[in-house]
Symmetry: C2
Subunit: 319 residues, 2 copies
């Protein structure tokens, strides 16, 4: 990795116009890593741009102080394009053409699924966040950290480690966090900006789903659901159900959890999660879905109550 970071450093030093491409529907890592690198490149006297194909999400506006632009159709091509927190052109579909017009292309990412199709592909699955890689790159570039850069990297790390609680956290990550706070990053400010911006309808949707949790198989399995009517009544989107399955999975004693989202009267999207052992991918495959051992899903063309009965029967086979 060290060698590739050095190669990217050289490409940066040789370039003037450097465009950063976070993935669509950018999360805290994509936004934090992009803003941190953007600010570092400005300090180096470069002309960086963050290119988006949608507005910055509301809870990351505190980072993106008008640093991003969406005129990817008309902007002139870059000397260097860098895909941030993704390594797959399908994750920046509208911006693909502009991306590949650049003289040199690169990728900074930590997703195992990313593709080695760039002039410089830095794909490090062991990194907790792309923000960690941006930190290493900024060190290599010898740009001094400031509060704004530090808070952008802190955001990337905080969000991609689930507030330092996921198993991707290392001693090194806490060491970086210590340095970022030394520079002035305000951990609680970042937390409040990112997480205390949940609209009420989202809190209520999660609560309604949590109230639907039903335990079975001696409390080892949990199932919960969201009805289409609830989304309609609350004005919520499908994406607002993200993470609901984790509420069910985290109930004491639960090994396997399933979440059913009613897409239509007889169309149910099923997600499954495993706490420790067990393989839910085999259930997903049986019904034409996909995923991996610990997290998989599929779609059933059944009414909600019938889908629930079927999923309950299948889940117990994984115990």
């Amino acid at each position: 990795m060290k060698e590739k970071i050095k190669a990217l450093k050289k490409a940066i030093l040789d370039s003037e116009k450097i465009y950063l491409f976070p993935h669509v529907n950018p999360d805290g890592d994509a936004m934090g890593a992009s803003v941190a690198l953007y600010l570092a490149l400005r300090k180096l006297g470069k002309k960086p741009e963050i290119i988006l194909e949608e507005n910055s999400p509301a809870n990351f506006k505190f980072l993106d102080k008008d640093y991003s632009r969406m005129d990817y159709d008309s902007i002139e091509s870059a000397d260097l394009s860098i895909a941030i927190d993704n390594g797959d052109p399908n994750r920046f579909p509208e911006r693909k053409e502009l991306f590949f017009k650049a003289a040199v292309t690169a990728c900074l990412d930590h997703h195992r699924t990313s593709k080695d199709i760039f002039d410089i592909s830095i794909i490090v699955p062991s990194a907790a966040a792309t923000g960690e890689l941006v930190y290493e790159l900024i060190k290599e570039l010898e740009v001094e950290l400031d509060v704004e850069i530090a808070e952008a990297i802190y955001t990337a790390i905080l969000t991609d480690t689930g507030c330092f609680c996921y198993s991707n956290v290392t001693s090194h990550i806490h060491g970086i966090a210590a340095e970022l706070m030394e520079v002035g990053a305000r951990n609680n400010y970042v937390y409040r900006m990112v997480y205390e911006t949940q609209p009420l309808y989202k809190v209520k949707l999660r609560s309604m789903a949590a109230e639907s949790i039903e335990l079975f198989a001696d409390g080892k399995c949990a199932i919960c659901h969201v009805k289409k009517r609830w989304l309609d009544e609350l004005g919520a989107q499908k994406g607002d159900t993200d993470g609901i399955i984790e509420i069910a999975r985290s109930v004491a004693g639960v090994k396997l959890a399933a979440f059913l989202r009613e897409e239509d009267d007889e169309q149910i999207k099923v997600s499954m999660r495993v706490s420790d052992e067990g393989n839910v991918a085999q259930i997903a495959e049986k019904y034409g879905g996909g995923g991996h051992k610990k997290a998989a899903g599929f779609t059933l063309m059944l009414p909600l109550n019938e889908a629930m009965e079927l999923v309950k029967k299948e889940l117990v086979t994984c115990l």
Copy 2:
């Protein structure tokens, strides 16, 4: 503080039987700090005991591997008693007599309200957790950290910093966390043991309260409640409502939040929290309650709906 830690070190080295007294209803900091110090004292060849007046909470049993005892009525007195994560005999009421029978008494705590009534009072409000003070003490004692001690301190820090998200986190805390993980502490294991052990009835109680959230004053205030009937139906205790007010306070745009718990038909316990500015202590005082600017409470002898109307009227005066 350094001098006091040195004094406690001397008292420890001069003692054989050393009893640790975490506060009643012990939380992660009280249990983690106690277990870490207990293990370090054993490594020093001392005879430590953790004295409790109730069983260890289920989610801290992974730390307390039969290290605690409850026979405070019959056990012989100690050479040194240390109050852990509290500095007030009212927080270990049943064990008070045993505590003060010791030749020397001490206190290791970070609560501003603790009392300087011990032979050695180490009360450091700037510490994020008592676990941080135990870490410093163990360093001073020159006891080598091992995985078990490291995970106990990690638990203390994780729980008292809200997973590194509260404003009490410092660069130093992340530095300690880095060292603990270097020694082998498993952050995700600790997280799962502590937090993924919520019984279903607690998840449902929180959800029911969240569903009751009502915004007013242009969304700047939030109010929610728990009915006595809900507690009865779920088999929940009053203590299970801890933290519910934070759900209301964290809704996007909310500056002031109130939580009402129905104790009886005409007895309502009111809690209030402030996000940034505002002083809810003045409301609490007006109704015979107490607290501080950002968190205060009182009791009303009114039916729930009347109490809600009154609290709503009072809250808007703080905006």
